[in-house]
Every structure is written in C-alpha cells, then in structure tokens.
C-alpha cells in the first residue's frame, strides 16, 4: 500500500520535472529567436547590407533611448500617449456596455438602430479622424475621441450579443420571483456576460492604441505617435523604431494587466 503510494508520488515528481524541462526549452528557443533577430539586424546594418538610414540598428536605437530619457522628452511623450490610451480604453468599454444595455433594454430601439450599427461597424473609423479633430479642436479630447470611436461600436455589438445569449431560463427563474427588468439585468444578464465583457477589454487594448496613435499622427504635437510622424518627416528612422518599441512594450504590459484582472475577477 505504502509502497504503491510512494511509486505514484515518484511518477508525479517525474511528470512535474518533465513539464519544467519542456518549459525551459521553450524559453530557450524564444530567447534564441530574439537574440538572432537583433544580432543579425545589427550586423546587416553595420555591414551596410541594409540601408542604416532606413533600418537603423539596435545599437543606435539603444543610444537614442538613453538620450531621450535624459532630456526627459521620452517620458513626457510616453505619459501623454499612455494617458490618452487608458482614457479612451476605459471610456470606450464603459460606453460600449452602456449602449449594449440600452439595446437590450429596448428591443424596439435595437431594431431601429440595427442598420446604423452595421454601417458604423463596417466603416473604417480612422477615416473619421480629420472630422473629429476639426470638430473637437486638436488636442487631448480629439485624440481620445479617436481612440473611443474605434472600439465603442464593436464593444457594443459583442456585449449586446452576449446579453441576448444568456440562457432564458435564468430570466424565467427571476421572473417567477417577480423580478423587474432592471433586477433581471443586474442579477443575471451582467454576471453571465462578465467573461465576454472582459474579453472585449482585451480586444480594446489593441484597438485603443491604434486610435490614439492615428490621432497623434493627425494632431502632430505630442506623444509617441507624434514621435513616429516627426521621425518620418525628418527621416530619423531610429526615432521611429524607438517609438515602436516603446509602444510594443506598453501595449503588452497593458494586455497583461487586463489578463491579470480577468484571472482575479472570474472565479474559476
């Protein structure tokens, strides 16, 4: 009996060990790819096999990174863009859920608005950028609006669909207790759609970055989007690449935070 248990314990240990080893190999190859890309980029650039003016090099980007940190311009631009992105991300998600709630509340309203939602969802929202900037005047407001407009409709549509797909029997249970429509919404619709709402957050992280960067391209006064467009205009591609890297890192961090939030909020 005891011997048997020890044997199973041992097998389990072996299994855990094999999982650990596999994970280490995965990490190893991931690092190899990273090192290979950067090393060959540096090499190709130094040997002038690719045009260093256009493709820059990791070394130059690294140096510029410290330069921009020291003169404080990177932090300033980064702060601006991050604030705009987080703001538009939160506003878009909240607004999207509110629109979805209104559509669920009134089936009539949802029938009336249906074609407009389809059109608005299908059109490329960044094309509205110039109109928004003129209407709201260039600055924070119009850039945030640009980010919001990209996410809000798709959020509303996805969340509304999940509201409609909640098992009607849960509503039946509530109705037999004489629940009002608001109570049904609060007790069944929202909690049942919670996983969907969180997963739209993940999509919105990416989309709000697009909206905000495009907005900064157009307004062209501050932010990481401005750094990209400025670098492009003065043909300083090291600056462009630096901004791209910073954006990639920030977007990843934001995505991971949402992921963490998801794990915290959804009881497994």
């Amino acid at each position: 009996m005891n011997e048997n248990r020890n044997k199973i314990e041992l097998l389990h240990q072996n299994y855990l060990q094999s999982l650990k080893i596999e994970k280490r190999w995965v990490r190893f190859y991931q690092l190899i790819i990273l090192a290979f890309v950067f090393a060959s980029w540096e090499l190709l650039s130094r040997m002038q096999w690719i045009d260093p003016l256009i493709f820059s090099s990791p070394n130059k980007i690294w140096k510029l990174f410290f330069e921009k940190i020291q003169d404080g311009s990177l932090a300033a631009n980064l702060g601006v863009t991050l604030t705009e992105t987080v703001a538009s991300f939160i506003i878009a998600t909240a607004l999207g859920v509110i629109i979805a709630a209104l559509l669920w509340w009134s089936p009539m309203l949802s029938n009336i608005l249906d074609p407009y939602l389809v059109i608005f969802n299908a059109m490329p929202k960044v094309a509205l950028g110039p109109v928004i900037i003129v209407a709201l005047s260039p600055g924070y407001t119009s850039i945030i609006a640009n980010g919001v407009i990209i996410c809000v409709i798709i959020t509303a549509i996805v969340v509304y669909t999940s509201f409609k797909e909640v098992d009607p029997n849960y509503l039946k249970v509530l109705q037999t207790f004489g629940a009002t429509r608001f109570q049904c919404f609060k007790e069944a619709i929202i909690p049942a759609s919670f996983p969907t709402i969180i997963s739209t957050l993940k999509v919105n992280v990416g989309l709000s970055w697009v909206g905000v960067i495009v907005g900064e391209f157009l307004v062209s006064s501050r932010g990481l989007g401005y750094m990209i467009i400025y670098g492009f205009q003065v043909f300083n591609f090291t600056l462009v690449f630096l901004s791209l890297f910073v954006i990639a890192v920030l977007a990843t961090v934001m995505y991971q935070l949402v992921d963490l939030l998801e794990k915290k909020l959804i009881k497994e």
Partner: protein, 259 residues
C-alpha cells in the same frame, strides 16, 4: 370554492409562417393542499399551461384564478421549479436560496434563518451554503433549487419535470423528499411530467393531456391507499400497476387517434 381555477384557457403561438394552437379549452380546478400532475406526450403544451398558470405567459383566451383573484395580480404566491436547477453559477448556495427574498425585498434575519433551516432540513448542511453550485452533485443542486423556490413561501408550487435530468436512484430519493416536504408545509403543487409512474406515485389526481392542440383528455383519481404512501412505497403497492395499466391504455388510444 376552489383554490386554483383555470377557466376556458386557449393559447395560440404566432410566428410569421405559423399559428400553433398549443392549448384549447382547458378547464381545471385544484384544491388547497392537493398535488396534481399534468401528464402527456412531449409537445402537448404542458409547460405552456404551467407558464400560463404562473402568469409568465398571458393566455390568448381564458383566465386563471388563485383564491378568486386573477394570478397576474398576486405577486410571489407561485413558486416555479424548472427541469434543471438553474442555480446561478456565480452565486454561492446561500445567495442562490436567498435570491427570491432579496428580489421581493423580504430579506430580513428571520426569513434568512428560515431559508437556511430549510436547507438543513433537505439534508444539506456542513458549510454547503458557502459553496458554489458546481461543487454540488445534480441531486444536491436540485434540492437547493427546491429550497430557493420554497424560501419565498409560495402558496402554489409548479414543478416542471424537476426530476428529468437526474439519475434514477437520485430521482426516486428526491421524489420522496419533495413529496414529504410539500405535505409537511401543506403546499399545493402542480407537477408536469411525461413519466407515468412518477405521476401516479406523487399525485392525488392526474390530468392526462392529449396533444395538438393540448386538451385535458381524461382525469384519473389516484386511490386513497396510494396517496397515503410515499412515492417509493406507492410504486411497490399492488394498486400501482393497475392504475399504470389504465393510464397506459388511455395513452395508447390517444396515440392511435393521432395517427
């Protein structure tokens, strides 16, 4: 005067292409404390009738009176139990059973302890109330659903095939428990089922429904001897099989008619 009165109920469902008459000319009365069953093949409008009685659905024609008042005006007097437990997976057992009270704004220390006591009476103790529904077995969950339904102290209970999703053994045990609990509290109940045995074992009267459109084909009075027994004992009584045979024959003739 009868406790529950269903008068000349007709119901037709409308869709773009079809109008389906689900129920036609339904008349029945149920006395206080009585347990009746609606028995019939699937699609005979049993669930429609339950929904109409519990005023979840407005009938095309006819009326339902509970203690001489239209059911739509009597809030929280009817409890409804579904085929599956439909416990809210994100709420703990305690939150689930207190849901009805919370919605009706009747949640106070007294009603709360009543509900928790009821849970204990159903054989669910030992910290179950802090668990989530998925940690419980199917039979336990259905018992929790029963507590949730009884917590608001409804006068009339609707049971819509509440045992159909359970395994046979659990089902038999739960039949006894439900039957005993309803008797103890003196509740009136209407059970919908397609299981002849279940209808006989649990009820005082059985309404046999024919389908398309649903009408009451025949009413069977269950003999006094069987009524007194628990469902499990009733199934083993010699009278059980004769009633079973009688209902079976009627179902056969119904089937032949529809062919």
């Amino acid at each position: 005067m009868s406790f529950l009165k269903v008068q000349d109920v007709h119901h037709t469902y409308f869709t773009k292409a079809l109008r389906t008459t689900a129920l036609s000319n339904i008349n029945l009365t149920v006395e206080e404390g009585e347990f009746v069953s609606l028995l019939g093949p699937s699609g005979c409008g049993k669930t429609t009738l339950l929904s109409i009685i519990s005023s979840l659905l407005k009938p095309t024609e006819g009326a339902v009176l509970l203690e001489n008042k239209p059911v739509a005006t009597t809030k929280n007097t009817i409890g409804y139990m579904l085929q599956q437990d439909y416990l809210f997976p994100w709420k703990t057992i305690e939150e689930n059973i207190l849901l009805g009270l919370k919605l009706a704004k009747q949640l106070n220390p007294k009603t709360r302890s009543n509900a928790l006591n009821l849970l204990k009476q159903m054989g669910l103790n030992g910290g179950v109330e802090k668990q989530l529904p998925k940690q419980l077995s199917g039979g336990m969950r259905q018992r929790v659903a029963l507590v949730r339904t009884l917590a608001t102290e409804p006068k009339l209970l609707m049971l819509d095939e509440p045992f159909s999703a359970l395994d046979y053994q659990t089902k038999l045990k739960l039949e006894d428990l439900v039957s005993q609990t309803l008797k103890d509290f003196g509740k009136t109940a209407i059970l919908v089922t397609h299981d002849i045995g279940e209808a006989i074992a649990m009820s005082d009267r059985v309404f046999l429904l024919s389908s398309r459109p649903g009408t009451i084909h025949k009413t069977f009075e269950i003999p006094e001897e069987l009524r007194k027994l628990s469902p499990f004992e009733a199934r083993n009584h010699f009278l059980y099989s004769s009633v079973f045979q009688a209902i079976w024959k009627e179902l056969e003739t119904l089937e032949r008619k529809s062919e």
